[in-house]
Symmetry: none
Subunit: 210 residues, 4 copies
DNA sequence: GATGAATGAGGGTTCATTCAT
DNA sequence: TATGAATGAACCCTCATTCAT
C-alpha cells in the first residue's frame, strides 16, 4: 500500500529524465564524439525539446561532467564489490582476487566498448579541466591498487621492499593496456590471453628462471 | 661550392615553412587543445596570413594528421636508435638495453610534457579516425616491444612459453603509465621510482620469493 | 460590522496580488532594465510561480504598460494635489505655488531615483508604442503647465502675449532637466540650486537689467 | 596625378564599409529599436554576410557605442561650428548667436527625426552603461552652454549673479523640450514657435513687467 | 486558482574555408 | 605565391509563453 504524494512522483520523474539525459548524452558522445555532438542531437534522440535540456543541466560542459562522473562511479563500484583489499590472506587468494577483479573489469569495459573509448580515449581531449579529471581518475585507481599491494606487503606475500605506489601505477598501466587492446580485438580469446599475460608479468615477471 | 637552382631553393623554403607550420600547429594544439585552436591562431603565431596555411595543408584536419605523424616518428626514431632487438645476448644486456630505452623515453616525453599530453591524451578525442591512429600507434609500439621479447625467448633469457604479443602490450601499458604519471608529477625522483618499479615488475614480478 | 462575501474577499486578494506584481515588476525593471528582466525574475522575487504571472497579465509587454500607468498616475496625482491652477491670483502667489509644485516633484522623483530613470530614460526605449506613451506623458504635462500659464495670462500677472503652449513645453523642459540632473548629483544643494535657477529663468530670464 | 597604393586603397575601402555599417546600424536601430534589431538585419540590409559584421565590430553592443559616438560627434560638431562663446560682445549679438545655434540644432535634429528619437529616447534604455553615456552627453552639453553663459556674465550682458552651471542645465532642458516636441509635431511653425518661446523665456522670463 | 515543466523560436557569435587581389 | 576580406553553416543558449496537473 505504498502511496506517493504527487510532489514526490513528479520529483521522481524529474530524476528519471535527468538520468535519461545523462545516458543519452553518453550515447551521443560515445558515437560521434563530444565536439561533434550538439545539445539538439541529445534532445532529439530523447524526443524532448532542446530547451528542456537546459532545465536539467547548466550547459554542454555540465552534462559531460555528469557523464564522466557516472562512468567513473560505475567502474569504481564494480571494482569495490566483494573485493576488499583485506579479505585476502595469501598469494593464492590474491591471485584469485585479482582474477575476479580482472573479470569484473572485463565485464564492465568488455560489455560496452563505448565506455573505454569515451572515458579513456575521448574524454581527456575535451578540455584541460577534463584532462585533469581523467588523470585524477588514474590517480584514484592507483591508490586503489596500492591498497591491495600494501596489504600484500604487510602480510608478506608480496616483496617486502615493493615501491607500493609506483608498482600500483605500473600494474594499472597493464590493466589499461588490456582494456585498450580490447578496443581493437574484442574477442574473448585475446582478452583471456591479455589477462593471463598481465597476471603472469605481475606475479612472476618475464625473466626466465635462472 | 654546392650551387642550388632557384627552383630547388624555393622548394626547400617551401619545405621549411611546411615544417614550421607543423611545429607551430603542435605548439597551439598542445597549449589550448585541437578544438580550441583556430587556423588563425597558428598563422598568427607564425606571422603568416591564415590563407597561406591552406596553400600548405588541405584543412585543419589535415594538419593534425601531420602533427601526429611527426610525433610518432620522433618517438619511434628515439626508440630505434642504437637499440636493435638482436644486439642483446643475455638477460643482463637486455636489462641494460631496456634501461637505455627507458632513458630515451624519459628524454623524449620528459623533455616536453606537451608531447605526452597531446599524443596520449588529446589526440584520440579529435575524431574516430584519429582515435584509430592512436590505437595504431599503440599497436605498432606493441609490435616493437614484441620484437625484443621474441628475441629474448629465442635466446632463452626470457620464459620460453611467454605470450610474446600480449606480454608486449602489458609491458607497454606500464611504460604508458610511467609517462602519464610524469604528467602529474614531473620530478626526476618520481620518474626514477616509476622506472625502477616497472623494470622490477617486468623482470621479477611482485610475488615474494616462495 | 462590515461583512464581506467570500467572493469579494477573494476578488480583493486578487487585486492586491495584481498590485504587488506591478510594483515588483517596477522594482525589477528599474534595477536591471526591461529587457534584462525576465518574467521569472519578477515571479521569483514575489515568491510566486511564474505561471501565475500569466493569470494576472497577458504578457511581458502588458505588465510594463501597467507599470508606466502607475508611475504616470503617481506623478500627476502629486502635481494636482492642492495645486489647482485657478487657486492663484497674483505673481507672488504663483511663485509660491510653483515652488510648492517643485517641492512635490522633488519629493516624488528625488525620493526614488528609479522612477525618473525608468520613466524618463528607460521606458521610451522599450518599443515604438511605449515611446509614444512617453511622448504622450510629456504632452499631458505640457497641457497641465499650460493651464497654469493660461490662468496667469488671463489674470495679467504673466506676459499677455505669451505663447502659452510653447512656453509650457519650455518650462517643462527645465523641470525635466532638473530631474535628470538629480540622477547624476542627488545632493539637496544641487537640487535647490537647480530649482532656484529654473524659477529665476522662468520668471525673469537671464538678461541683465538694461 | 594622385596615385594610391593597393594597400591604402584596401584600407580606405575597409574604412568605408565600417562607416556604412555604422550608418546602417543606426538606420535599423532607429527604425525598429536596438533590441528588435538583429545583426543579421543590419548585414542583410547592407548586402553583406553577417559574419562580415564581426570583422568590423566586436559585438552588437560595440556597434551601438559607435553609433552613439557618431551621433554625439555630429551634434557637437554642428554646435561648435562658427559659434565660439567669446565671439560675442553684447546681448544683441548673443541673441543672434543663440538663434544661429537654434537653427543649427533644428537643421540637425529636424533634418532627421530618427536622431532625436534614438539619441534622446531609445539609447538610454539599452543598458545601464549606455544610460550613463546619455547622461554624460547631457553633462557635456551643459558645460558647453555654461561656457556661453559664463562669457555673458563676465561681459556684463547677463545677470552678474547667475548660477551659470544650473542655468545652463535649465536652458538645455528647454532645448531638449524643443527637440522632443518636434518629434510629435515636426511642422516648421511649431518649431519656430518653440524656438521663440524658449528664447523669450531664456532672456526675459514669463513674468509681466511690473 | 496556482504551479512549473516543457517548449522552440530566435539571436548572438565563431571559425573553417574560399577566392579575388 | 601570399594574403586577408568575406562568407554562412553551425551551434549554444535564453526566455516568453503554454498547459497538464
Amino acid at each position: 500500500m505504498t502511496t506517493e504524494t504527487p510532489v514526490s512522483r513528479a520529483a521522481r520523474k524529474k530524476q528519471e529524465l535527468r538520468r535519461e539525459i545523462v545516458e543519452t548524452a553518453f550515447d551521443c558522445f560515445a558515437e560521434r564524439g563530444y565536439h561533434a555532438t550538439g545539445i539538439a542531437d541529445i534532445a532529439a534522440r530523447l524526443g524532448i525539446g532542446h530547451g528542456t535540456f537546459y532545465r536539467y543541466f547548466q550547459n554542454k560542459r555540465d552534462i559531460v561532467d555528469h557523464v564522466i562522473t557516472d562512468l567513473v562511479e560505475k567502474v569504481v563500484a564494480a571494482l569495490a564489490a566483494d573485493n576488499a583489499p583485506d579479505a585476502v590472506n595469501s598469494l593464492a587468494e590474491y591471485r584469485r582476487q585479482s582474477a575476479r577483479i580482472g573479470d569484473a573489469l572485463a565485464r564492465i569495459f568488455g560489455g560496452d566498448p563505448r565506455m573505454a573509448r569515451f572515458l579513456l580515449l575521448e574524454a581527456a581531449g575535451i578540455d584541460a579541466e577534463m584532462r585533469e579529471r581523467v588523470l585524477d581518475f588514474y590517480e584514484t585507481a592507483a591508490e586503489l591498487t596500492a591498497g591491495y599491494l600494501h596489504h600484500g606487503v604487510r602480510l608478506g606475500y608480496l616483496h617486502e621492499d615493493l615501491d607500493v605506489d609506483s608498482t600500483a601505477r605500473a600494474i594499472n598501466g597493464m590493466i589499461l593496456a588490456s582494456i585498450l587492446s580490447e578496443l581493437r580485438d574484442p574477442s574473448p580469446e585475446r582478452q583471456a590471453a591479455m589477462s593471463r599475460a598481465v597476471r603472469r608479468v605481475m606475479y612472476d615477471g618475464i625473466a626466465a628462471p635462472s
